[in-house]
């Protein structure tokens, strides 16, 4: 393989696969934001519990 092809191959691998590795590491170190605003719990409205989706 020519030098230029090898360089492009290596640079592509480092940037793309390296980008994936860095993204995973960043996410693993801090999976969630600890400073979100209050609220946002995924609870259910009482009447929605009783309301069943209509079937065809």
């Amino acid at each position: 393989m020519s030098t230029s092809a090898v360089v492009l191959l290596v640079v592509s691998i480092v940037l793309v696969w390296g980008g994936l590795a860095v993204s995973i590491i960043v996410l693993a170190r801090r999976p969630e934001n600890d400073h979100m605003p209050p609220g946002g719990e995924d609870t259910v409205v009482p009447d929605e519990v009783e309301r069943h989706p209509r079937d065809l």
Binding site: M1, A5, L20
Partner: protein, 535 residues
């Protein structure tokens, strides 16, 4: 202007959820990684500057792919609905944009299934290498029994219909099982298996004679190509189509995340994960093509069929026939195609199913059966015949090159330019995520839309003046422009139908007040809510 009250924590709607962050990431990667990663990227790179293509490709990933991915994640997560419902909550007149996404997914699902069915057939053909003697003749003659181009035949091909029915049955079952049991499990099992399988294929390919020549052909840079605007458009197009953007998939998938969820960092994993698989596929495909070229005593550039279906169903089988252990290698390759296709197909149909669930207040199982049943019949009629390949080629060109690009432009226009939700979405991402998108994000989103408008106009003019693929004018009008007409009709007519579930009781979280934004106009879409629905 009435001030919207802060959302009490207990007034959120019931919605299916991913079991966790990893499940969402795998499902999003499963959607993005599809047939295009395997047969589109290597060809695009080879034809547009080889190794030099990686420069615009990476720039496109950072400046277009990731920003639009964040936009869709933000819309789906903040407005918590299928594409039509989320877009309606973005702007009261934007529901049609969501239905455009749904219509595109419906159309793509029809022919994507056919390709997976072909791959399933070839998986079994690999055991005795049925295609080895004459791969091109086998594919178009023995298997597809290809009829005359530019005609529409009702002559069905049992060899295609049987696997097509099988793929539809599996898909319907997965969708009917629901998000957690069906879609999520498919991806949690399927994506690691796909990556492992394809890695085995690539490692095997690297040790074939001539593999280095193939990889050299892919990565040898032609830096002069960087001055060609078409190379840059190709790079942005590849990123755009590859990441499953503007199908409504990422809006739908993000809407199933819990409200207190990190959005940007998982988005980066999805974007780089998709490109990583694409690069892996490029190396594997060109290593294999290098082997084929060496066996035929020609240069890699002299090979025919290095992209699209012919790469997978003609060129690859020709390679498999030449290599030691070809049956095993062939079975692995076509199993990978089936798996990559299936995880993408399910995401495409989930967009349609989710939209019907929201609009008609249906259970997931009912929506899956309705979508799958209608789609299966249309798919068999259109693509189970001797002219299915031509129809697929035509419908794909219009729905992909025009429909999806239009879907992206209208989404950005509705959310950022007309709906003026840009700052709200930016602050939403920043409030829930570990990585802030920054001020440049909104500028990039708008800049991408301008580029997409140019791409749309250029393609539309080209198709209108030059036609496509040498097909007769009537064929292009009926099946090409007819596809666009269908997409437009769905986008215009579906918003006229009443919602059969209560979409009024919704409060975005974090509230605008929590995002330090002035109160919203407080639109409540009561006029579209049908009181006869059983709420």
């Amino acid at each position: 202007m009435a001030e919207r009250p802060a959302a009490p924590a207990h007034t959120h709607e019931k919605r299916e959820h991913w079991s966790g962050q990893t499940a969402f990431i795998l499902a999003a990667i499963g959607s993005a990684v599809g047939l295009g990663n395997i047969w589109r990227f290597p060809g695009q790179a080879y034809e547009h500057g080889g190794g030099a293509f990686m420069i615009p490709y990476l720039i496109a990933l950072v400046t277009a792919g990731i920003p639009i991915l964040f936009l869709e994640h933000a819309i789906g997560h903040r407005f918590r609905g299928s594409a039509p419902l989320a877009m309606k909550r973005v702007h009261r007149h934007a529901e049609g944009v969501g239905w455009l996404h749904v219509a595109i997914c419906f159309v793509i699902g029809l022919y994507y299934t056919a390709i997976i069915a072909w791959a399933l057939s070839y998986f079994f053909f690999s055991f005795d290498l049925s295609y080895a003697d004459d791969p091109a003749g086998f594919f178009t003659g023995d298997y597809l029994q290809l009829g005359e181009a530019g005609t529409f035949s009702m002559s069905f091909v049992p060899k295609v219909i049987i696997p097509l029915v099988a793929v539809w049955l599996v898909t319907i079952v997965i969708l009917a099982l629901g998000l957690h049991t069906g879609v999520e499990r498919l991806n949690i099992i399927g994506i690691p298996v796909l990556v492992a399988t394809f890695t085995v294929i690539v490692v095997r390919a690297l040790f074939l004679e001539g593999a280095g020549d193939g990889i050299e052909a892919l990565f040898t840079p032609d830096f002069a190509a960087l001055s060609d605007p078409q190379v840059w458009i190709a790079a942005y197009g590849q990123i755009f189509f590859s990441l499953s953007l503007a199908y409504g998939i990422m809006i739908t998938y993000a809407s199933y995340r819990r409200r207190r969820s990190n959005l940007t960092a998982p988005g980066l994993v999805v974007a780089f994960g998709n490109s990583s698989f694409e690069l892996l596929a490029g190396i594997g495909v060109f290593a294999t093509l290098g082997f084929l070229a060496s066996q035929q005593g020609v240069g890699v550039g002299e090979l025919d069929g290095i992209a699209g279906p012919f790469l997978s169903f003609v060129t690859f089988p020709a390679t498999i026939a030449e290599m030691p252990g070809g049956a095993f290698f062939g079975a692995l390759f076509f199993a990978s195609l089936v798996l990559a296709g299936l995880t993408s197909l399910v995401s495409v149909l989930q967009v349609v199913s989710s939209a019907l669930q929201d609009k008609l207040n249906l259970k997931p199982r009912t929506a899956a059966l309705a979508v799958g049943g209608v789609s299966a019949v249309l798919s068999i009629i259109g693509f189970g015949t001797t002219t299915g390949l031509y129809l697929l080629d035509t419908v794909d060109q219009w729905s992909n090159q025009l429909g999806i690009v239009a879907g992206a432009i209208t989404m950005i226009a509705a959310a950022v330019w007309i709906g003026r939700r840009g700052h709200e979405l930016e602050r939403h991402l920043a409030a829930v995520s570990t990585l802030r998108p920054g001020k440049a994000w909104l500028w990039l989103v708008s800049a991408v839309a301008l580029l997409l408008i140019y791409m749309f106009v250029e393609k539309a003019v080209s198709l209108a003046i030059d036609g496509y693929g040498g097909y007769p004018t009537w064929y292009v009008v009926v099946f090409g422009w007819g596809t666009v007409l269908f997409l437009a009709l769905v986008a215009c007519l579906m918003p006229l139908a009443k919602w059969r579930r209560d979409i009024v009781r919704f409060h975005p979280w974090p509230t605008r007040e929590q995002l330090n934004l002035p109160a919203d106009v407080g639109e409540r879409h009561t006029e579209d809510y049908d009181p006869r629905s059983p709420s």
